[in-house]
């Protein structure tokens, strides 16, 4: 977002704050009291940096604007209304989120901030102290990217656990639990880079999704990345009617980024952990049985009706294994990790080669993803926190073991077809 596109009323308020050390963009729904608590939490950061908290100006009421304007200028924390979610971005949630991130980066640039934070989710915490923990490594220890390590429950953030985190971990060689945040902290160097790449990519539906691009950009540039232990994130309930659209919206920018960063990730051979700040937060795990019938039904329907499409993407050996799996009774159903990993890699390759329409491709992956979730649910339904970590570690190892398969198919898609 260019400065010229900022509305006049907002521009007046912006002029009251000439510069800032830290900009915090709040995309998550927070009321006036919540925003004030965020300010309170950030005031006690070491070195008392000047902080600007951006809140969506469309959500702000006129009287709240007055409150913001009436704040004493001597305060180290200013509340500024800012157009976070542009009207052009209202069409889809992913594009809207991307636009909000761009907007926060643009604001940070305008205020000449040393760092910026994005608060996009709610966590299981009574106080907003966790926001300070996210910001602290940026202002105190000069990290370039601070990513959250939320306390996790076994059936939450499944898309992240099954694809995003292990894939990025294997590709870019750094073990990051939530590479797509959505709560993130970025240094000036990184948000300037993100702004540059977005300007280059253009704006609109084809623009690069900021959230998917942040971690790979930092890792490929060898910037300093750390994780911060945070309380469990509160996830929105599953919208089963739109799960395939969400899958497509999330995976498409990740696969696009794989294409752009191919030279970078093909060089990475091993993966290492990043520094982790704070103490892990323990959460209770449910140990009851779960109903996976809906997901199994989706997989069975996929096997019956989508084989023609999967046949364009997956090699015959994978299709054969899937057909074998479909014949298993529900209680014995287990999708091996290496099979799942090869499926993800084959879809990434088909996305790159545009074997079929990209939207069709990613949406047709939904039954396979749900099959993996069913298998994972079988493995963990009565397990506790330790078993969860072990299970995800096994998956991560499978992703790394399959990387040679990915590299071979990526380099020689026609020749290497097992």
């Amino acid at each position: 977002m260019e400065a010229g596109s900022i509305p006049e009323q907002v521009q007046d308020k912006v002029e009251q704050v000439d510069s800032a050390d830290l900009v915090v963009g709040v995309i998550a729904e927070l009321d006036q009291e919540g925003l004030a608590a965020v300010c309170d939490a950030l005031r006690v950061l070491p070195g008392s940096p000047r902080v600007v908290v951006l809140r969506d100006d469309r959500a702000a009421k006129p009287d709240q604007n007055n409150v913001a304007a009436a704040e004493p200028s001597a305060s180290s924390c200013h509340l500024v209304p800012w157009p976070l979610l542009g009207s052009a971005a209202a069409g889809t949630s992913a594009v809207g989120t991307s636009s909000a991130y761009q907007s926060i980066f643009a604001a940070s640039e305008k205020f000449g901030a040393r760092a910026c934070c994005v608060i996009a989710s709610s966590v299981e915490s009574a106080t907003p102290g966790w926001i300070r923990e996210l910001a602290q490594p940026l202002v105190e220890r000069d990290f370039d990217l601070v990513v959250p390590n939320y306390a996790r429950r076994k059936f939450e953030g499944l898309l992240n656990s099954s694809i995003i985190s292990p894939l990025m971990h294997c590709l870019y060689g750094k073990r990051i639990h939530n590479p797509m945040g959505p709560d993130l902290g970025l240094s000036r160097r990184l948000f300037q880079k993100m702004l540059g790449s977005e300007r280059g990519a253009g704006v609109g539906l084809n623009s690069v999704h900021s959230l998917a691009t942040v971690a790979p950009a930092a890792l490929c540039e060898n910037l300093q990345v750390c994780e911060v232990h945070l309380p469990a994130r509160i996830y929105p309930p599953t919208d089963w009617m739109n799960i395939s659209s969400l899958l497509a919206q999330i995976l498409s920018p990740i696969f696009q980024d794989m294409e752009r960063n191919a030279a970078c990730w093909q060089r990475m051979r091993t993966s290492v952990s990043v520094p982790v700040i704070g103490e892990p937060v323990l959460v209770s795990q449910d140990t009851g049985t779960v109903d996976i019938s809906r997901m199994m039904e989706s997989f069975q329907l996929g096997i019956r009706d989508l084989q023609e499409i999967w046949g364009l993407v997956l090699p015959p050996s994978t299709l054969f294994e899937l057909r074998k799996l479909a014949r298993l009774p529900s209680e014995q159903f287990r999708m091996p990790d290496d099979l799942w990993v090869r499926i993800v890699y084959d879809f990434a390759l088909a996305h790159r080669l545009r074997t079929i329409n990209r939207d069709h491709l990613l949406k047709s992956m939904t039954p396979l993803y749900l099959a993996w979730v069913s298998s994972y649910a079988h493995d963990l339904e009565t397990a506790g926190g330790t078993a969860l970590e072990e299970r995800l570690e096994r998956l991560s190892v499978a992703y790394e073991a399959g990387k040679t398969y990915l590299v071979s198919r990526w380099r020689w898609p026609d020749r290497f077809n097992p």
Partner: protein, 234 residues
């Protein structure tokens, strides 16, 4: 009297023989032109076939979004279809050249009417091509969407949509070619209507369970039953 008959007979025989004699070189030219065009067609086909094979034309065509071409092709090979089409076109050209050697007027009339019809042919081919691509895209969209909604009649729905577009496209192409427009309109109406009614019945009957389940879920939600699922994907 008899002498006059003999004279007429001699004259008509002479005329016939003269005409036949004048046509013989033309016929010979037709045969030669045909033979040459057959040889040229075969040679061209023999050149084109390995050339397309080396370019993986069949696979590329499928990748470009035209896998259905393989279904219409001899031995499921679009390469063979293209090479044979080239051969047939060369032979047809040779035949027209041969005909022109016999009667130039007739050939020019034929050529004029063929040329006048070419825009219709091209238009119809374009309509068919676009229709085929659209039908395929929509069928795939509907199939994937319906499977992701756990609809058991996803394939039927997808086929219905595909055939609706195909029937519409073929009717438009035939209309463009001016082939029996009255029959085409009538047949199109019957077929299109038939497909819509079939789909409506199939979907309506098939959706009974879906609607029941959805209503049950809403009722359970309203009564406060715990239907909360533990899975959070994104």
């Amino acid at each position: 009297m008899w002498s006059q008959v003999k004279q007429q007979l001699a004259e008509s025989t002479a005329r016939f023989l003269t005409r036949f004699a004048s046509m013989v070189p033309g016929l010979a030219a037709l045969v030669v032109a045909l033979l040459i065009s057959i040889v040229a067609g075969c040679i061209l086909a023999a050149i084109v076939r390995p050339l397309l094979s080396s370019m993986h034309f069949d696979e590329r065509l499928a990748r470009w979004g035209f896998p259905s071409v393989a279904e219409w092709s001899p031995k499921q090979s679009p390469t063979l279809l293209v090479s044979r089409t080239i051969a047939v076109l060369v032979i047809l050209t040779g035949f027209l050249i041969g005909i022109a050697a016999i009667d130039a007027d007739w050939t020019s009339q034929l050529a004029r009417s063929i040329v006048a019809y070419v825009p219709n042919l091209l238009g119809a081919a374009l309509v068919l091509l676009i229709g085929s691509v659209v039908a395929r895209f929509l069928a795939r969209s509907v199939l994937i969407g319906a499977v992701n909604l756990n609809l058991h009649y996803a394939r039927l729905l997808s086929l219905g949509v595909k055939w609706m577009v195909v029937v519409l496209t073929v009717a438009m192409a035939l209309e463009h070619l001016r082939i029996a427009p009255g029959i085409v309109k009538l047949a199109f109406g019957i077929l299109f209507g038939g497909i819509v009614v079939t789909l409506a019945l199939a979907v309506g009957l098939g959706s009974k369970d879906l609607v029941t389940k959805s209503l049950e879920r809403d009722a359970q939600k309203a009564s406060g039953d715990n239907l909360e699922e533990p899975f959070r994907h994104i």
